[in-house]
């Protein structure tokens, strides 16, 4: 009976997944192989992807940078957060989540007006005569329209997705395990490297996944903060659907290759970690 009730309760979600995840994915695969195209079934869309190798490399490198920075910033934050009293934790969690209450696009636009040559940061530095230190001709720092600005945009937007899973895993570590280690003579470095870090790995892995995947496929961030100078995979796919060359088949093929590469990278990474299923957002 219980089993049957569970199944009924799960039905709406399963239906949702089928309609909005499984069927679209299936269509991507079909289109990538030339379904509904003039040529019919073809592998042609895949054979021309090699010319985009530079863009693939660029996207993966920038996304890796963003993920690494998120990990360096996010892990200590999550670690100390998990050791705080409940009131502080609640407050800190709200502050971490707060930016997500605003639309992603609006936040990225705000970074544009912060980083511009005539933007808030440069205007502030000018107001305090900071640029006088560099001689008369320097009037601003070039921040926007650089790969650095793109990475910054990724880190800013996706950092909460690194902190929260790590936090929830560290939070669940049994304090008695740590005490036992201390009783057996482990110093704090050993406790961290032998006990806490290995136990928090599932959170780290899920955090990496949740930062890396949206970073590698973003297209808004590179357009707004990269000035359209650094083309990323997301931009390339966007071009196939809404650019001057309308080619959903090639777009699907690029998407598919990207998904396979990301999945391969994740699978490889998960081999080094323990059970992924323990790590969840909360």
């Amino acid at each position: 009976m219980k089993n049957r009730r569970n199944r009924i309760l799960a039905a709406p979600y399963v239906g949702w997944m089928a309609v909005f995840v499984v069927i679209p994915l299936f269509l991507v695969v079909l289109y990538a192989f030339g379904f509904d195209s003039k040529e019919g079934f073809t592998l042609g869309n895949f054979t021309q992807i090699h010319q985009y190798a530079g863009i693939f490399a660029n996207s993966f490198v920038l996304a890796l940078f963003a993920t690494a920075i998120c990990l360096l910033l996010g892990y200590p934050a999550a670690y100390f957060l998990a050791r705080e009293v409940p009131a502080v934790r609640r407050l800190a969690t709200i502050i971490i989540m707060l930016p997500m209450w605003m639309n992603f696009l609006l936040r990225t636009y705000s970074w544009m007006s912060l980083l511009e040559n005539t933007g808030l940061i440069n205007r502030f530095l000018r107001a305090i005569h900071f640029f006088d230190l560099f001689g008369p001709e320097k009037g601003y720092f070039t921040m926007i329209n650089t790969p650095g600005a793109v990475v910054l945009g990724m880190v800013y937007n996706f950092l909460p997705f690194m902190i929260l899973p790590i936090f929830s895993v560290i939070d669940k570590i049994d304090n008695r395990v740590i005490e036992a280690a201390q009783d057996l003579g482990a110093d704090s470095v050993t406790v961290f490297s032998r006990i806490i870090f290995p136990l928090s790995l599932p959170g780290v892995l899920s955090g990496i996944t949740m930062v890396f995947i949206p970073s590698v496929s973003t297209f808004v961030i590179s357009k707004l903060l990269g000035g359209g100078k650094t083309i990323l995979l997301g931009d390339l796919i966007d071009m196939q659907f809404y650019g001057s060359t309308y080619n959903p088949h090639l777009g699907s093929a690029i998407s598919l290759v990207m998904m396979v590469l990301v999945m391969a990278a994740m699978a490889l990474m998960n081999r080094f970690g323990a059970g992924e299923e323990e790590a969840m957002l909360f």
């Binding site: 005539t118 070039t142 707004l224 000035g227 359209g228 100078k229 650094t230 390339l236 001057s244 309308y246």
Partner: protein, 318 residues
């Protein structure tokens, strides 16, 4: 009825319904490519669409449009001869012009040493880091083609490659490749100059009077958006009645004052508010217009070349 977002005075739809008793079902699309892909999957659902010139040419090529019976559109005679028999529909069989405009160079008078008259200003070393360009291959490569003295619609691969070489040379000077972000960047003086649409230039100049607009001497893009009837339209007669209504002075005047683009109808233009009708940005003189060229649809292999050349430029710029 399928139109661009924010591209009609919607009260006109009610007027039309009152006059004719025909119910209008109005929907919008964000760009030509979306219109194209939507029509691919839903033929026979729309009666009137408003694509741009090059997309009309593509749709004519792919037999996606119905012939329009001009006998049912008496107001067609109001359309100026300058907007008949254009490259995208030389026989005037498939489209009735809705609005038109140009692409020119918008610049900040306080940030340039002298007023630019040529697209070459976008290659001027003294404006390094102050230059914006289109983030759209057709418009961006088109500007370089004009600098070299070629046509926007060239199918000569060597010319296109030469144009992209010129853009690669320009890349270190370019601050960013943008579309609508140009509004913010030019209005606050983040950049000194960039190419964009005349109608939008008027909007930007309203918020920053230091901005100015020029149609460069090499020639510029003239675009026409026209009303068409897609193949298999369920109510072709009603569609023609609607097109006729939109060409009437009353509707054309109200519409152009609302959306700010230029009307192709001579008699409607006479009835516009003088401030708009005499604005040389919206209505440049004949001599200037003769330097302009419309986009036509390019063959598929050239479109592919645009795509790969565009990526070559972006690769070099990053």
């Amino acid at each position: 009825m399928f139109n661009w977002g924010e591209y009609i005075d919607e009260s006109l739809l009610e007027t039309f319904e009152e006059q004719t008793g025909i119910k209008v079902n109005y929907k919008t699309f964000p760009d030509n490519e979306t219109l194209y892909s939507t029509l691919q999957s839903s033929m026979g659902e729309y009666d009137v669409i408003i694509p741009s010139d090059y997309m009309i040419a593509r749709m004519i090529d792919e037999e996606m449009l119905e012939r329009i019976d001009l006998n049912n559109i008496p107001n067609y005679e109001k359309i100026s001869d300058s907007y008949k028999h254009l490259d995208y529909d030389p026989g005037n069989e498939y489209s009735v012009p809705y609005t038109w405009g140009t692409v020119g160079l918008i610049y900040n008078t306080t940030m340039v040493s002298e007023a630019p008259t040529s697209w070459k200003a976008l290659w001027d070393e003294q404006y390094k880091g102050q230059i914006l360009m289109f983030d759209n291959s057709r418009d961006c490569i088109g500007i370089a083609l004009k600098v070299l003295g070629y046509s926007f619609n060239t199918t000569d691969e060597a010319q296109i490659k030469e144009a992209v070489d010129l853009l690669i040379e320009q890349a270190p000077l370019v601050q960013a490749y943008v579309m609508d972000q140009i509004f913010d960047k030019l209005e606050v003086g983040e950049a000194a100059m960039g190419p964009y649409y005349a109608g939008d230039a008027i909007t930007m100049m309203e918020s920053n009077p230091d901005l100015a607009f020029v149609l460069p001497e090499e020639g510029a893009n003239l675009f026409v958006d026209a009303m068409c009837i897609p193949k298999g339209a369920p109510n072709k007669e009603n569609a023609e009645a609607f097109i006729n209504f939109m060409c009437s002075d009353e509707a054309a005047v109200a519409n152009c004052e609302y959306i700010g683009y230029s009307t192709p109808s001579d008699s409607a233009r006479e009835k516009l508010e003088p401030e708009l009708a005499q604005n040389p940005i919206a209505y440049p003189d004949e001599e200037t217009l003769s330097r302009c060229e419309t986009f036509i649809n390019l063959p598929e292999e050239i479109l592919k070349l645009y795509d790969s050349e565009w990526l070559r430029l972006k690769g070099a710029g990053g």
